[in-house]
Symmetry: D3
């Protein structure tokens, strides 16, 4: 019964990178809240802008509808802070909003982008902001003058070009049981359809890796994540 909070730089990132994890948590009785920092309206909506009469408001509205449908397919809620993209800028006030969201959600699991990406200027900005907000929302492990929540686990998304982003997978999640839900969520993004095949094959490859690492023969689709903080466990 985990509570999961997902910070996505643009409206669609959470689907490609964590759709299976979100569906998995929800399918097991947990709750997932997806918060996009921007709609990706400038940098990742090129298909929509091919319409010469397109407006920024309409692009955002379309992206909002798509992301909401995708989140619903996974069992999650969706909201967008609409901070703008390419470049995404997260000022002090926006960081405070992130802190509030973390404190009011009190998540067990926090998911966001990796620290580095030489081909996406907004993903590292998202990481920095979420990382700062996480620390401020949880305090320094001692009593403080402000309200804090129990520190969540922090998982980083697999980026599009993992090695160039310093991404090393430390966690493979079997998403075979919820694969249809992720497929449905990916289909919600008509404007980024070319990524559907890529991430379907990727999920099969990560399943191949997971089978080799752990010997579980029936994993057919998997998602990879990187833990940044140590795990604390009661039993091995």
């Amino acid at each position: 019964m985990k509570r999961m909070l997902v910070f996505s730089a643009h409206a669609a990132d959470f689907v490609w990178r964590a759709g299976g994890a979100i569906a998995s948590v929800c399918a097991q009785g947990g709750q997932a809240r997806v918060v996009a920092l921007s709609y990706g309206e400038r940098g990742e909506s090129g298909e929509l802008w091919k319409d010469p009469k397109q407006t920024i408001e309409r692009v955002k509205a379309i992206r909002h509808a798509e992301a909401t449908r995708a989140a619903q397919a996974l069992g999650a809620s969706f909201e967008c802070l609409d901070l703008g993209d390419y470049p995404l800028r997260v000022n002090d006030k926006a960081v405070e909003r992130l802190i509030e969201i973390i404190v009011e959600t009190a998540p067990d699991l926090l998911l966001t982008h990796a620290e580095k990406d030489p081909f996406n200027p907004d993903h590292p900005v998202t990481y920095q902001a979420v990382e700062k907000a996480r620390q401020l929302a949880t305090g320094a492990g001692v009593a403080s003058a402000f309200r804090t929540v129990r520190p969540p686990e922090l998982l980083l998304f697999e980026p599009h070009q993992p090695e160039l982003c310093g991404f090393v997978p430390t966690l493979f999640l079997d998403i075979t049981p919820v694969w249809e839900k992720k497929q449905k969520a990916m289909e919600a993004f008509a404007s980024q359809g070319y990524l559907r095949q890529y991430y379907s094959e990727r999920a099969a490859h990560r399943a191949n890796h997971a089978r080799r690492i752990a010997g579980h023969k029936n994993i057919e689709r998997a998602e990879a994540f990187q833990r940044v903080l140590p795990q604390v466990v009661r039993s091995l």
Copy 2:
């Protein structure tokens, strides 16, 4: 109900570095097998050698008795390959013995030393041998001409000077419920008594870290480990 296999360079390492983990697995109904590669008879038995009539056989016998008592206190079995220490040398035949042990144990969890240690020549030799044996005992993830077992999780011990060994803890295990057992196991090593206080305080410090990382307030003693391979999980 996990099966744990522990490769310890010298007769006492498993106690200071993984005594709590061993006791924890056994207390939860699992099984633990401790295999020392040497008795540490030359490099880590200095107290015993202060007796001018001391012999190598007697030192080994004393170390064997101590290690067996310590393992029993934790609920584990103990055996020693008696390969010699300072320097420990692991030839091809000894690696084959390690492979056999892994295959016949078919462990869920495999524990051993870290890859590097500028102040202990035998610990990295143990890592290299165990790592080679692990790979050969599990195959390359495809059907092979020899018998293989399901790949275990691999956890590295916390070294005496962690930062100098490149050790970064990625897993903290709460050993509060089995702390008395670890204490008893440490007491079995009369000849290395000076380490008892050090590792008791260390377990309290690691508990302090674990509480800060995860907010679990009632952890009083913990052990730290480093995962080398990704985890594969069915749910987050």
Copy 3:
């Protein structure tokens, strides 16, 4: 006869992390100036805030008195820039103040926090600000249009969870002769009393490490630091 300048993120950090080094320099005829960037009034004064009538001014006043007493016990001066904490923000004007302090102190030794800390948002901010100020106060090694001072040695404090902060000790200082002074300084912080035992044991562990590294048998307490810049010496 060294001049030491210490930049501490919060009012108490300098005591746990460099109290021995400060006392050592002062005991040998040198001078030490401690500059805190904030009082740690929000994030690290939780005990004080348990008083329901507590005010921010009173918390700062208590912290100021404690830090001043601690600095006196070590032989150093204390001042606080009162820039706020959790989050600490260091704007351009504050960096200029740091530059002025470095230029007017002309230190031989500059001490501050490590670059990274996943459980303290203010320590890395302090590092970045001090590092920027250090470079601007010393110039690029060529004549410049502004007043510069000779580049000091830069030593980073041991963080609370060293491995998670990328901290690797490169320097152990024997603080046995000044240990009582550090104890007295730690006692000045009534509001963070739980750290006294932790850092006393830590000093004993670091002494154990130092003895193993260098064979000096009479080191009983030590502090660890990380050099960031090369040493320049006249003799080995």
Copy 4:
């Protein structure tokens, strides 16, 4: 008109990991020589061993025939040193054979496995042996008492799980024009057919990466490599 020398741990590795590069060099008038260190007869021929009457000689013969057919499809020659696999052991005499092969081939390009692989014990052994032979075959950049050749460029193969092997691609080769040849070579390995789909999709993914990195829109299949040594060029 480049001369390429490829050292493959097992009989099939060169196809999955460098088939496109080999075909590309040959299609442009160059020459490629593939040298396998073993047939992979124990660790990577599981399908063949399902025949209960199978013998080690027959497995090697089948693998030799397959690898020869694959090499021919790419335009290269194939030979095998038959050093054994799982574990592959490369003794001093075998290193001398590698040196001879490098000196007699005098390659412009040298390709082999990456330095690390937690799921394949033979790949790192191959890297170490080839790296040692490369250095001894080229000398220290000064006149020497033995025959040396001009230092070749050194390219490392993409491993099966790149991130776990520390692999970072620094070179993407467009293999679109020779894709059919690589497909044909992959088909030669009836006994490892399950890898054909995996590496076909991988080549498409790497092409996607290459298009994003360099903007060349018509790359449909690519292979990734990691340079270990600097490039030396006459023009940018």
Copy 5:
């Protein structure tokens, strides 16, 4: 026929660090545009400030004239954004100007400083700004709402103290044919004459390295660069 764009933190950096590369591209029929972010008027013009009547405007004018002469000697154009130095600050508007310059130049090659420099505060600021501008000027590899250009290759300059800046050379360019042009460009900087000998010897040392790496015996002067992004090639 390559188009090269060079972002230099101060007016003279491009000469010491990339003068040969610029001259080489221009000598082969290409074009080079040098954009300095500042004149280095405060931090790197100390000789000029020895004149007690010196003014900031005159320093800038002298540096502008020197840099223009140097650029001409290499075959390049020179312009300066005059953003100030020690510290250089690059705000959002300045980043937008960098984006415009990249988009209007549509370079094949982009050169700038390395990410880190413990003895120069302005070089890393330049790296960050150029890196951000590069990403925004080229988009995320998908269609976007704004004008983008094909991603250029990115080469980092050799810093003054390479190892302290994390610089690892991955590319050596033979500048023997254009060495006289680089010498002439270096002579244009009367105010930093002491660097001429240093960088002349450095070019000879890098040539020595290049000869050892690749066996090209007639390289007499070379410049070293570090690639940050993978190369994409049609043939090896």
Copy 6:
């Protein structure tokens, strides 16, 4: 009054890489013992082999005479273990000889090559052997059954291509006062004369770096080293 022990892979390495340090220790009343593992008779004596009547014994004799003269110029003793070069092989018996040498010398300072070198196969072999011998000669910090000595400081030489060897200088030694002695020692190596200019300029460049790092204006020649182990000090 320090005792220094230098392990040099080939007969001449100690001169280029540590000649100043050796002379400095001796000039200050200390003692230095240079032990070469081989004469470099095959890989680094190319000039001598141009004589068609050359023999291996004569090459070794010439190198012995040169190295002895060089060592004398610095104030040190010279001996050679004559283990062969290209490749240098250090078996168990040779490691035991290294241990004996360390134990009988009981050095304060131990100098040898860096861990990695992609263009010299013998330097890393030397590092591994010396590192193993150092650990066995000093024990694990506890009483042991064999004779041990106090752990020396360990300094690594600057390699010919520092960045490619992972070398980061952490220590610059001012060798200005003993520069003439190093020059004389370099002149002893008639057969590697081309390195004299290179390392003279390098010493001037390292002095330039040292001046910038520490502001000591009168350093004219310096040598760089990398510490591998922490320093333990009584005062800062």
